[in-house]
């Protein structure tokens, strides 16, 4: 991992939101490199700018200043169509509130992602990886929160993404379920080695990552490598 090439390179990235005539500075001069296959956790309190940073990494938004390189490409100058293709081919997303399509069953939700990429992981295999194969024909309303999140992870990884971005994946779950979901993410990382970025306000989650970045007031205030990674199943909060 230490020798892996940089996948993301952020230079002096800033983001300003113009809300009803008021400018809100969400990010201030972020410099960050993320290597291929790295497992990184961005920690910070609410309003620290971690979600904004994740959105920029995921091509859901564009920076107000600075540059974001993805591999050899300048992500910050992508137009809408290029960003769509980038999300389709390179990324997997996991959200705090699962965001499964309520009108599709678990397996159909996974297929919603696999249908638009070349050479995906078969939907059943992806569900098996997260332990949800036996619930594959259930609709979201028939699944618990943890189960829904595991389906969301299966959907995210089924595209064989280079990057898995997780926005507070355990935020809506109890400890036991949250640990189970993190275990799945950790297992995925070990099996298919995507670059994983998790944002959380829960410092404990940083213990399973290669690296932890602490954010406050739109800046990265500390960037630490984790020499003693723990198993997700050992976590308590």
């Amino acid at each position: 991992m230490p020798n892996a090439p940089d996948l993301y390179q952020l230079q002096n990235v800033s983001k300003v939101f113009h809300l009803d005539g008021v400018d809100v500075q969400a990010l201030r001069g972020i410099d960050l490199s993320i290597r291929e296959g790295e497992f990184i956790v961005l920690l910070g309190a609410s309003g620290s700018g971690k979600s904004t940073l994740l959105n920029l990494l995921g091509g859901l938004d564009r920076p107000s200043g600075g540059m974001i390189h993805y591999g050899q490409k300048m992500l910050s100058t992508f137009d809408d169509a290029q960003l769509t293709r980038f999300r389709r081919e390179e990324l997997g997303f996991v959200f705090q509130s699962y965001n499964l399509a309520s009108s599709l069953t678990a397996i159909e939700n996974v297929r919603l992602a696999t249908e638009i990429v070349v050479d995906p992981i078969p939907a059943k295999e992806a569900l098996e990886m997260v332990g949800m194969l036996d619930r594959m024909n259930h609709f979201p309303s028939q699944l618990s929160g943890g189960e829904q999140q595991r389906v969301a992870i299966a959907r995210a990884i089924a595209k064989r993404p280079k990057v898995l971005l997780c926005d507070e994946p355990t935020g809506a779950l109890d400890v036991g379920t949250g640990v189970r979901v993190l275990s799945v993410i950790q297992e995925i990382h070990q099996r298919i080695r995507p670059t994983i970025v998790i944002i959380s306000h829960n410092a404990v989650i940083g213990e399973i990552a290669d690296r932890v970045c602490y954010m406050s007031d739109g800046k990265i205030i500390r960037d630490e490598s984790n020499t003693q990674r723990r198993l997700a199943s050992e976590l308590q909060w």
Binding site: A81, S97, S103, F139
Partner: protein, 793 residues
């Protein structure tokens, strides 16, 4: 400066309206369409009724119209014995052919009317619009009816060549006039008005009487009574007061042609005041329901806050009810203003057909009342339940977010498992099945748009069918001539020898009374040659009907009106003074759309009603390029009283009619498109609202905006496809209902919806759907994916 401080709830209401502005606009537009058609029709009814009543009162419109054999003027006083009579006007009425000097040799027909000076102002006063009054006129001058003068651009001083008493008389136009008796000007038995070729000419009594050798005589009586409601009794008294066999026809107001057509037009407006508003306001109610359901869904937290702060059920309900009131009231206001403008436009159209001295548009306060009541009903129907639900939602329940949409596997899933539907198509199908009521109402909304368009469009095709039926299928001649009494049969041979004449057939036609028990109808009785090809009555299957000997053929309407069955005998009495009554079995039924007609074979007609074999009418089939020449030659023959060229009559009818129809079609198309766009847009809007989270997710997964929009557009397409057959069917039913409401005994149109009407209506609806889809796709492009995916379910 006065600072207006708005209550927070008022500000919130304003913002709610702004947030749903497009949907609100759609509702306002549809309510406005419904209210404007209601308001226009009601104002038109008031306008026409008021103008008619004023005109009738001011110019003393008679209660009874009597046709008699020529009687001396002294005999008119015998009618005065009839009790409760308040006015009598004896007069001379003569049909004559004429031409306009300096204009083409069109055969023109005039009804010449002359009233002895002493009776001029008694009844049915002539209103001079331009030029001299009757009393100022000198010899050889006439007043010309306004509608003809306008159609032919006749000016004061123009000359008319009129055939009177077998001689051509030159008459000068002294003025342009109208009279209540000719409020709607149409020749007896004509079926359609022909303002280009039919005129009323008022002449001095002495001049007309001497020209037709009837000095000191009258053949028409107008009567006014103080008890017009005792019509049948007075009719009998009138007949009895005059010499035996002298009375040919006695008509009361409801039988008089002009009054009958005018009141029919007003009756038709009553139908128009019901059907379109009901359709529009039903769709509006559905859209209000959709808008309110959406609002209440997004407002759960706010409702909880209001209720937990201590707002009562009434206050909470009032806040949401105001939303509906503002939208519906705006629609009502716009509809009333548009309706008022349309009432002016439509009044101008009516004024060109119905000749009133003046036709000012009347504001009908009741129309406003009906409009407000109808709009309120739509609001209550569409939003009442939602407001009640909002007001009575318990705060504890309202504070919890609404549970996520629950789906279950259905039979569709089992079917779909055999077909690879794909995720997007699955989302479309499940979305439709998840909200069956909304989907059903959406389909109904679009279908009503198509239906109302079909209803507006079918009349043109149906009128064209009637023209084809009347003028080409049953009346296949090119020229019809009426001859003087006593013309010998050799005239037919003479007509056949005219250049370009291919066929000529003699026929008879007379007004007659058909009676069965106490049921009676005045109809035109035709006598046709056995092998007649030029006037050829047909049955319902359009097959020629040969009239069995010794029997009469009646139209289906006559069978129904007289309550007789095939084979029953009817009593036929010609209204020409012959006073001969014959009982004839009705053994054949024919199909017809204009007027009330009955048919006999020519031999039977002559045997029963004529004493000679002279010819009174003939139909000619003429080569197209010879029609003008033949017409000219016929007009020069002294024995020919009137010449009717069929193509000119059709041309004129279409010219007048197409202007009016185009105006109404334009508004119908506009209004129906508003329904289509409004319904489709509202459905697409609510669908976008309910699915926006899924759509945002798809965008994040890497679907493009257009791919994402496919879910919404696909849903619209499915609804559209389902709505087209429902819309066509509802259009057909509306057409049946409209036909049933608009048809009268003497004027009918068939329920015939041409395929092009269905196609055009469906296409307009598809275009509306495409416009709505385009707007919705634009909104998908601007979805705030981050905010949507971060929000709590």
């Amino acid at each position: 400066m006065v600072k207006i401080i708005l209550k927070p709830l008022t500000i919130k209401l304003g913002r709610d309206l702004w947030n749903q502005r497009f949907q609100c606009l759609a509702i306002v537009a549809i309510v406005a369409c419904g209210i404007s058609s209601l308001f226009t029709s009601r104002c038109l009814i008031t306008t026409l009724k008021t103008a008619m009543e004023q005109y009738y009162t001011n110019e003393r419109f008679p209660d009874f119209f009597v046709k008699t054999v020529p009687l001396s003027l002294q005999q008119a006083s015998r009618v005065e014995k009839v009790p409760s009579l308040s006015g009598i006007q004896p007069r001379l009425v003569v049909d004559a052919s004429f031409s306009l000097s300096g204009q083409s040799h069109d055969p023109l027909i005039a009804k010449m009317v002359a009233v002895p000076k002493v009776h001029e102002e008694t009844l049915n006063c002539v209103v001079v619009r331009q030029g001299m009054s009757l009393s100022e006129m000198t010899s050889n001058q006439v007043l010309v009816s306004g509608v003809f003068a306008e159609a032919r651009k006749v000016k004061i001083g123009d000359e008319l060549q009129v055939m009177l008493g077998g001689k051509q008389v030159s008459l000068e136009v002294a003025g342009i006039a109208i009279a209540p008796e000719f409020l709607f000007q149409m020749r007896d038995g004509a079926g359609v008005p022909d303002n280009q070729r039919y005129a009323i000419l008022w002449m001095r009594y002495d001049d007309l009487a001497s020209a037709v050798s009837m000095s000191g005589y009258f053949n028409s009586l107008l009567l006014a009574t103080r008890t017009p409601d005792r019509s049948e009794l007075i009719k009998d008294q009138i007949t009895q007061s005059l010499p035996t066999d002298a009375v040919l026809v006695v008509e009361n107001r409801s039988e008089q042609i002009s009054h009958r057509y005018t009141t029919n037009a007003i009756d038709q407006l009553y139908s128009i005041a019901i059907m379109p508003p009901v359709i529009f306001l039903s769709v509006a109610a559905f859209l209000i329901y959709i808008a309110m359901s959406r609002l209440i869904k997004t407002e759960r937290q706010n409702i909880a806050i209001l209720r937990s702060f201590g707002y009562s059920i009434f206050e909470t309900g009032q806040h949401y009810a105001l939303f509906i009131v503002i939208v519906v009231a705006s629609g009502c206001l716009v509809g009333t203003v548009v309706g008022w403008i349309l009432a002016h436009q439509a009044t101008a159209v009516y004024a060109s057909v119905y000749r009133f001295p003046s036709l000012p548009v009347q504001f009908d306060p009741w129309a406003l009342g009906y409009s407000i009541a109808a709009a309120a009903a739509a609001g209550l129907l569409g939003g009442g339940l939602s407001v009640w639900k909002a007001a009575t939602l318990a705060p504890a329940i309202a504070l919890r977010p609404e549970p996520p949409a629950s789906y279950r596997a259905t039979w569709i899933d089992r079917v779909a498992s055999w077909i690879n539907l794909g995720s997007l198509n699955r989302m479309i199908v499940r979305g439709i099945l998840r909200w069956p009521v909304r989907t059903g109402l959406g389909i109904l909304g679009i279908a009503l748009g198509i239906g109302s368009m079909v209803m507006g469009g079918y009349t043109q095709g149906a009128i064209q069918y009637v023209i084809d039926f009347e003028f080409f299928l049953t009346r296949r001649y090119d020229i019809m001539v009426q001859m003087k009494e006593g013309t010998s049969e050799s005239a037919i041979g003479e007509l056949l020898r005219l250049p370009g004449v291919l066929a000529c057939e003699a026929f008879e036609s007379e007004a007659c009374k058909i009676t069965v028990g106490d049921r009676q109808r005045t109809v035109i009785l035709y006598g046709l040659q056995d092998d007649a090809q030029l006037v050829c009555p047909v049955d319902d299957d359009l097959k020629p009907v040969s009239i069995p000997p010794q029997s009469v053929a009646l139209t289906a309407e006559l069978f129904e009106a007289l309550q007789v069955s095939l084979g029953d005998s009817v009593e036929v009495e010609l209204l020409n003074g012959s006073n001969k009554i014959v009982n004839i079995p009705a053994r054949a039924q024919v199909s017809d759309y204009a007027g009330l007609n009955a048919y006999l074979s020519l031999n039977d007609f002559r045997k029963w009603f004529r004493n000679d074999k002279s010819v009174r009418g003939a139909c000619l089939q003429v080569q197209t390029d010879h029609i003008d020449t033949v017409t000219r030659m016929l007009n020069q023959r002294p024995k020919i009283v009137a010449v009717t060229v069929k193509s000119k009559a059709i041309e004129n009818f279409l010219e007048t009619d197409s202007k009016n129809i185009l105006l109404f079609r334009f508004f119908n198309m506009l209004f129906s498109s508003v329904i289509g766009i409004g319904a489709v847009y509202s459905i697409a809007s609510i669908s976008l609202f309910e699915r926006q989270r899924d759509l945002a997710l798809m965008r994040v997964l890497g679907y493009s905006a257009n791919e994402t929009g496919r879910v919404l557009v696909g849903e619209l397409i499915v609804m559209m496809v389902l709505a087209i057959p429902v819309g066509c069917l509802s259009g057909y039913l509306f057409a049946c209902l409209a036909t049933w409401m608009l048809n009268t005994e003497t004027q009918r149109i068939p329920i015939l919806v041409q395929p092009d009407v269905y196609i055009a209506s469906s296409l307009v609806s598809c275009v509306s759907c495409a416009i709505s889809a385009f707007i919705i796709l634009r909104r998908v492009h601007f979805l705030d994916c981050i905010a949507l995916l971060k929000s709590k379910e």
